[in-house]
């Protein structure tokens, strides 16, 4: 319950609540996630202004046109790295910073046929070798399950 661990710190344990969430994604986003099982990447192309969103959304943010299932388009999955960073420090899950054994590259990717960007880890490349404009493609998990983690990371196209 109530523990006075150190002077000035009141630590409260044993709350009679749990707080879990299950956010609904909306229909188009659900299609996007489920299609990952077939290693497909879906976007939504606005019929009015042509802007293409990945992941898809049901209202064009540019011209406010309502989008639906008929506006879904399948993308090749290839993309271009438009920006990136390299992380050298991470969290250990206990509230502490730790130095990463291997630096991790994270990048913004503009997929072929899309106007919006997605942010993904970049793998199979040393941080020194990463360049803006390089072509990348998804590295799929071997057994895909229709969830966001089906794409492990993006890697340089060969």
């Amino acid at each position: 319950m109530l523990h006075l661990e150190r002077e000035g710190i009141v630590r409260v344990k044993g709350l009679p609540f749990v707080a879990r969430f299950k956010w609904s994604t909306g229909f188009l986003m659900e299609r996007f996630i489920k299609s990952l099982a077939e290693k497909k990447l879906l976007g939504a192309k606005c019929p009015s202004c042509g802007y293409t969103y990945v992941p898809p959304r049901s209202r064009c943010g540019k011209c406010l046109t309502k989008l639906g299932e008929k506006n879904l388009v399948e993308l090749s999955g290839r993309g271009v790295l438009v920006g990136y960073t390299t992380a050298y420090v991470g969290l250990d899950g206990e509230g502490n910073f730790v130095d990463l054994e291997k630096p991790r590259v994270i990048g913004a990717i503009k997929l072929e046929g899309a106007d919006s960007t997605i942010f993904m880890p970049i793998g199979e490349i040393d941080p020194e070798g990463v360049r803006e404009g390089m072509e990348v493609e998804p590295k799929w998990r071997e057994a895909t399950r229709g969830e966001l983690a089906d794409i492990e990371y993006f890697k340089p196209s060969r």
Binding site: M1, L2, V10, V12, G14, L15, P16, F17, V18, A19, R20, F21, K22, W23, S24, T25, G26, F27, M29, S58, R59, G61, K62, L64
Partner: protein, 413 residues
């Protein structure tokens, strides 16, 4: 007071239910926002500014206002989020009214919502973690332990407050639990006439409610509001724009009130020491101020219909008195005589109210919206049969004592 006349020129809301799993949060919100703009016959481009809100901590999205802009035409415009707990919708509506009345903007969209089903826990539990506990954690510093805190002050948050309120009211007025059955049955019946309402029960009788099991004395299961998914929206416009519209509800007066009681500070640990939890002076003071602004001197005669924030049936009676619609301690007598029915002398919550539909952040904006529909004569099946010249909309919540009162009418101030 120096401010411009404003009117509500458009109303929109979603159908309410316990689960809207078919839509994401912005998809649900945009339903109400677009319906309000369509009803007002304005395009998103014509809207000058947007006021939004839901109850802080609910739904598990910390800054939902940052997520919904591109869905409702907000880019390039001021978007302001207001969060005043259970009263949020009332404050969102009044915020939009301030923005137009001040002369800063001509057309403002107000949107409020709640999406309870995004929580995996029953009812509003995840929200309570934020509100009920986080707001009262400071009590630990006064030496109160967690068990005592939970047992004494925050038992079921709003329900915990409302049970005390109901008991105080019953004690001083002679109202009995049977009257709560009557209010609840009326709410279910009225909601059955409101196509957007959540708990609809045509022909529901007090006996039906009396059969439901006791949850926290004096409240039975049938006395308690649902946790709804839904959103509501209004478009507020300046006088010269509103005059050109066929349908409008003029804002005649408004007020709001907050005090230390809002944090239950007097219940157990040395606040301002209000002894009667049903006293609700904030509502009385707000009503007096709003009526004065509206030029209303005799609310019993001049108010035609009331939309009262009543997640629990006792609150419809308590606040109806505090809004000056019935004599002190006598609302339950008027209820017995049928005065509060849709076709009664003083219809209260013809929409079914919060007792039938509680998408928390939206609930107090819905009171304003429903009052506007009554003034415009657009409430369809739950339109009161008499002429509506003035309607009062009430909001309650905060943590436990934040009040908004908004008076609407068929002519400008």
């Amino acid at each position: 007071m120096m401010f411009r006349n404003v009117a509500i020129i458009g109303c929109g809301q979603t159908k309410h239910s316990s689960k809207r799993r078919d839509v994401s949060l912005p998809e649900m919100i945009e339903e109400a926002a677009w319906r309000a703009m369509e009803d007002a016959q304005v395009t998103p481009e014509e809207i000058d500014a947007i006021v939004v809100g839901n109850m802080q901590g609910f739904g598990g999205v910390a800054q939902p206002d940052q997520w919904i802009g591109d869905w409702i035409g907000a880019p390039g415009k001021p978007v302001m989020r207001i969060a005043t707990g259970g009263t949020t919708g009332g404050s969102v509506g009044q915020g939009a009214i301030y923005a137009v009345a001040s002369g800063m903007y001509d057309k403002v969209l107000a949107v409020a919502w709640e999406k309870h089903s995004d929580s995996k826990e029953p009812g509003a539990t995840t929200g309570l973690l934020h509100v009920a506990l986080a707001n009262f954690f400071h009590a630990f510093n006064y030496g109160m332990n967690l068990k005592s805190l939970v047992a004494t002050t925050v038992v079921g948050a709003a329900a915990g407050v409302a049970v005390y309120q109901a008991m105080f009211y019953m004690h001083r007025s002679g109202c009995r639990i049977e009257h709560f059955d009557m209010v609840a049955a009326k709410s279910r019946r009225n909601a059955a006439k409101n196509k957007y309402a959540h708990l609809q029960w045509p022909g529901c009788t007090p006996e039906d409610i009396a059969k439901t099991e006791m949850v926290a004395y004096p409240f039975r299961f049938g006395h308690i509001c649902p946790a709804s998914d839904g959103a509501s929206a209004i478009v507020v416009a300046a006088e010269d724009i509103a005059k050109k519209k066929e349908d409008k509800a003029w804002v005649k007066g408004l007020a709001s009130y907050s005090d230390e009681e809002n944090q239950l500070m007097s219940e157990s640990y040395g606040g301002v020491g209000i002894l009667d939890a049903s006293e609700q002076m904030g509502c009385r003071v707000s009503a007096m101020k709003a009526y004065r602004m509206a030029g209303i001197t005799d609310p019993k005669r001049e108010i035609d219909v009331a939309e009262i924030y009543q997640p629990f049936p006792s609150q419809e009676l308590i606040f109806a008195e505090r809004l000056g619609l019935f004599d002190e301690g006598k609302a339950w007598v008027a209820l017995e005589e049928g005065e509060m029915e849709i076709d009664g002398r003083m219809p209260t919550d013809p929409s079914g109210g919060v007792l039938a539909t509680n998408a928390i952040g939206s609930s107090a904006l819905q009171r304003i919206l429903e009052a506007a529909l009554q003034v415009m004569g657009k409430a369809e099946e739950h339109q009161v049969p008499k002429e509506v010249r003035n309607a009062v909309a009430h909001g309650w919540g905060g943590v436990t004592n934040y009040t908004t009162v908004t008076v609407l009418g068929d002519s400008p101030r």
